[in-house]
Amino acid sequence: MSKPSDLIQGTLDLLILKTIALGPMHGWAIAKRIQLVSKEVLQVTQGALYPALHRLEQQGWVRGEWRESESGREAKFYSLTKAGRVQLDKELEQWQRLSSAVVLVINAAQEA
């Protein structure tokens, strides 16, 4: 189980935004989906997830809405706002630049 600090700063936001870009999702489902898609490599703790969701909501990137969930009970579903979609593109682009840079450095180090 990785701690939030294990994730590079800001990565959790990116993961959440990317995940709910597919459609509105509640917190538990977001955590599950990140876990599933990353083949259990990334485990988002609830202690990090909910504060992050609330921060994103305060910043206007996501919007929370109470709805009936697949289990039949009420759950808070998060969806991307228009501004959130733009933010996601920005963060994706930054992430790709960052990760390819990291790859470059690592490859160079191995060759040396």
């Binding site: 909910y50 504060p51 501004a83």
Partner: protein, 892 residues
């Protein structure tokens, strides 16, 4: 899109603050849902129910910690802190309610006064006039050396209208009241204007029914049409739907109703025979005239025009002056005039502009003093609270937090003051509007509205920050160690703080002196006005107006006969001492001049023809109004229609045109080629009456005898001097007129002293308000001095005790304390009077016979301020004399 996001952010912040409990419930529910799902998953994986629940809770970690972190994400701690500060402030104020009340009340009074005056300024000076694109409307006057503002000649008007390139529409209008009769009820006099076509297009208003006049109706014979006001249509015609096309009787002549205006059409005001600005006009008829188009000497119509878009009043004036030059080359009567063009707004509010700004300045000074006073009192309290502040600082409150906390208190005080002030303003404004001088423009536009409330709120907050900042910063500089160490003995002010407070008191006294000087010179000016001999005796005189319709009173003989019979009947009324009729009364804005007459044996200087105010008077007119005879005789039965023509002139005319000569028997004529019978002989000289009490001097004037008037003056004013209360005779006057002619309306029945009094109402109004504000300022300054001296005495009681022990007498102590207070006041007086000498000039145009440098006023103000300071110090000084040497010795 970005705005969309910020909208979301704002919404979230608001929710975080306003719906805190709901958010907490939702957060709880959200986390519980997570645990339940995890539990279900665990059960599916084979755990039993209890294990599953515990495992789920473990994965989630500390629920309360997550909740806390989620809460932090709302970022509202600043506001939370502020609310906390505010609650603390409420508690602190509650602990010293008398202290808080003094500050809140003084602030409320001054903020309320500011809001009330600002409401007047908003309504009169800031709101646009109620005409579409009113800034494009301009008034047109003539100007010459002798007359800065003169009405237009109607023939010139036609030329200007045809030739000018500046106005979309150019119109003229002139005051001509009419009598409406035949409606089934008593005849009434309507305030009416004769207007050229296009007049309403200049104003930008259209009749609600019917139409405006067109050019053809300006032609003589076509002019018997009328546009009625909404008020007359409702009150006199029961809002009849079929009013258009109906015939009504105006001055006993049939007129066809062409239109009805919507309610609330504001008359733009006029200077000649003036009618107040506002919804004051009841009927409009076409201006028709004919005669000799070369007669350019008569000036009696008012010009008004709507400028083409983009054309300024200056450009239009240049255009008109060009036309004036052309006209002057063709017509003798147009020589010597230029055009004076003034935007309508300026024309309407110009006369009160200065006074309102002076009032705003005065009331702003009061607010400044109230602020300084509040700062002063808060400083005193901050000193007393040093221990508490030191404790808070020692417990880790940051400096910023301390400043914020003090400011929260000040804001609370000022907002309370502002709220109370707004209530005071609403009440005060009604009183203020009630006492506005008659003829004050745009009074119906004065309201407390959202703008005024926004102004009040802004002033309140700015005030709080202003008076709070100094004490707050001072307090935050408290050294916790020092404060705690002093704490046991009740902390004392630092030297710097004492100096600051002394400086604030000096400032307060200075500002108060500035206001007192203003009030003082206004008072002197007002007394000067009252002391000036009006030139007539307004007491016990009843006045009324009558207008005879052309149809029944066809010529001047018929008019003169009617008035003679009426006056005979009126003088027979018991209680009448003397009764007369004249074309006008003193101080009622009458300013009709006749220029270009011939004085036997004299030639006028070039470009400065003989001119004088002209009037008609019945024999007893001067006795009834109380204008004294200086020389010769009043009119009497000798001045008959066919006897030698006579006139009475005033003293100024006698001295201007016959300097050093005996004027009785001198002659004047108004004909270019006079026959012997065209000469008027001066038989009497009467005392001068100025146009207004504040006018620099009287204008030359003469009177024709009623029986010899050169043309029929159909509108006359009756003046009846009674032995007792003249109001008792009002009904008898109506009866006398009704017996002679039941179709006549007796209008404007008023008392002469009331008319005279109205002429003092503007200076009285300014004096009253500035005096009120100055009084308030003085009280505030007294509170300031009292506060500082009282605090200083309580700090020095120990020292005073020692002094008594060393042999100081009560008198020594008393004078020591008094000296301290009076010294502060004296410095303030010097500064205040210095400022008054520097800036007092702004008042001078409102003053009569006195200037702001008036030494008597300055000395009086200084003495008053020192006396007030002495009184304010007295309680503290007496306390000082009670210092007990034993207490002091024991304490050491």
């Amino acid at each position: 899109m970005e705005t969309g996001r910020w909208w979301d952010v704002l919404r979230m912040r608001f929710r975080s603050l306003a719906k805190r409990q709901r958010l907490e419930r939702e957060l709880d529910k959200e986390l519980r849902y997570h645990i339940e799902r995890q539990t279900e998953e665990n059960i599916a994986a084979g755990m039993n129910a209890r294990e599953a629940r515990e495992a789920a809770a473990r994965i989630l970690g500390g629920v309360s910690q997550i909740e806390e972190e989620c809460r932090d994400m709302r970022q509202t701690q600043y506001i939370d802190n502020f609310l906390q500060d505010l609650r603390y402030a409420v508690r602190m104020l509650g602990r010293g309610p008398a202290f808080a009340m003094v500050i809140v009340l003084t602030l409320a009074l001054s903020i309320g006064a500011n809001s009330a005056i600002f409401s007047v300024i908003d309504g009169v000076l800031l709101k646009p006039l109620p005409y579409p694109q009113a800034e494009r409307i301009a008034r047109v006057f003539y100007r010459s050396k002798a007359y800065p503002k003169f009405p237009v000649n109607p023939w010139d008007f036609l030329d200007f209208r045809a030739r000018n390139r500046s106005f979309e529409n150019f119109a003229m209008y002139t005051h001509a009241d009419v009598q409406l009769s035949g409606t089934g009820s008593d005849p009434v006099k309507l305030s009416a204007f004769r207007i050229s076509s296009g007049y309403f297009r200049v104003l930008g208003v259209q009749p609600a029914r019917g139409r405006e006049f067109d050019f053809s109706e300006e032609r003589p014979g076509n002019g018997n049409v009328v546009i009625l006001s909404d008020r007359v249509w409702r009150n006199q015609f029961g809002a009849a739907a079929d009013i258009l096309g109906r015939k009504v009787l105006l001055d006993s002549q049939p007129y066809t109703v062409a239109g009805v205006m919507p309610p609330g059409v504001d008359h733009p005001g006029n200077s000649y025979n003036s009618v107040a600005y506002g919804d004051t006009v009841d009927a409009w008829t076409p201006f028709t005239f004919d005669g000799n188009p070369n007669n350019r000497g008569a000036h009696y119509v008012e010009g008004i025009g709507r400028l083409r878009p983009g054309v300024t009043a200056e450009q239009a004036a240049a255009d008109f002056n060009g036309i004036m030059t052309e006209l002057a080359s063709q017509h003798e009567g147009d020589k010597g005039w230029t055009i004076y063009m003034v935007p309508l707004f300026q024309e309407i509010v110009g006369p009160v502009h200065k006074m309102l700004l002076v009032l705003l300045g005065a009331v702003g000074l009061v607010l400044l003093i109230a602020c300084v006073n509040a700062a002063n009192l808060l400083l005193a309290r901050a000193a007393a609270r040093q221990k508490e502040i030191a404790v808070r600082a020692a417990l880790g409150a940051g400096r910023g937090r301390l400043v914020r906390q003090m400011l929260a208190e000040c804001l609370l005080i000022s907002v309370l003051g502002g709220a109370l002030g707004a209530l005071l303003a609403i009440g005060g404004l009604r009183v203020l509007v009630y006492f506005l001088p008659p003829g004050f423009p745009r009074t119906d536009a004065i309201h407390v509205n959202g703008f005024v409330f926004a102004f009040t709120a802004l002033v309140a907050v700015a005030t709080g920050l202003f008076f709070g900042l100094v004490p707050a910063v001072q307090a935050s500089q408290t050294d916790p160690q020092q404060g705690l160490r002093d704490g046991g003995r009740g902390s004392s002010e630092s030297g710097r703080q004492t100096k600051l407070r002394a400086a604030l008191v000096v400032g307060e006294v200075g500002l108060a002196c500035l206001l007192l000087v203003g009030a003082g010179v206004l008072l002197r000016s007002f007394v000067n006005l009252l002391k000036t001999d009006p030139g007539f005796q307004p007491e016990h005189v009843l006045t009324a107006e009558i207008a005879l319709p052309d149809a029944t009173y066809k010529d001047k003989t018929a008019v003169a006969d009617f008035y003679t019979r009426m006056l005979t009947n009126l003088s027979a009324l018991p209680g009448t001492r003397s009764v007369g009729a004249g074309t006008d009364l003193p101080w009622t804005g009458y300013d009709e001049n006749l220029g270009g007459f011939t004085i036997e044996g004299k030639t006028p200087p070039p470009n400065d023809e003989f001119h004088a105010r002209y009037h008609t008077a019945s024999p007893d007119y001067f006795r009834a109004v109380g204008i004294p005879l200086v020389w010769g005789r009043f009119f009497d039965e000798r001045d008959k229609k066919d006897s030698q023509r006579t006139m009475i002139i005033n003293d100024v005319m006698a001295r201007r045109y016959w300097p050093g000569e005996d004027v009785i028997g001198k002659r004047i004529t108004f004909d270019d080629k006079p026959k012997e019978s065209d000469w008027f002989t001066v038989v009497g000289v009467v005392g001068d009456v100025k146009d207004k009490p504040e006018s620099a001097g009287a204008e030359p004037a003469f009177w024709w005898p009623l029986m010899q008037q050169p043309f029929a003056f159909r509108s006359m004013t009756i003046a009846l001097r009674a032995n007792t209360d003249p109001t008792l005779l009002a009904e008898s006057v109506r009866n006398v007129v009704r017996e002679l002619d039941p179709s006549l309306a007796v209008a404007h029945v008023r008392l002469m002293d009331k008319i005279a009094d109205e002429n003092f109402s503007t200076p009285r109004f300014a004096l009253f308000l500035v005096g009120l504000f100055a009084g308030l300022a003085l009280v505030l300054a007294a509170i300031g001095i009292y506060g500082v001296i009282s605090y200083s005495v309580s700090q020095r009681m120990h020292e005073f005790g020692m002094r008594v022990a060393l042999g100081a007498s009560s008198w020594n102590l008393l004078s020591m304390v008094m000296r301290q207070g009076v010294l502060l006041a004296a410095i303030g007086v010097v500064i205040g009077i210095g400022c008054a000498l520097m800036f007092g000039g702004v008042l001078d145009s409102l003053l009569y016979g006195v200037s702001t440098r008036d030494p008597l006023t300055l000395v009086g103000v200084g003495a008053m301020a020192i006396a007030t300071a002495t009184l304010a110090c007295l309680p503290s000084a007496r306390r000082a004399t009670g210092a007990n040497p034993m207490t002091s010795l024991r304490a050491d």
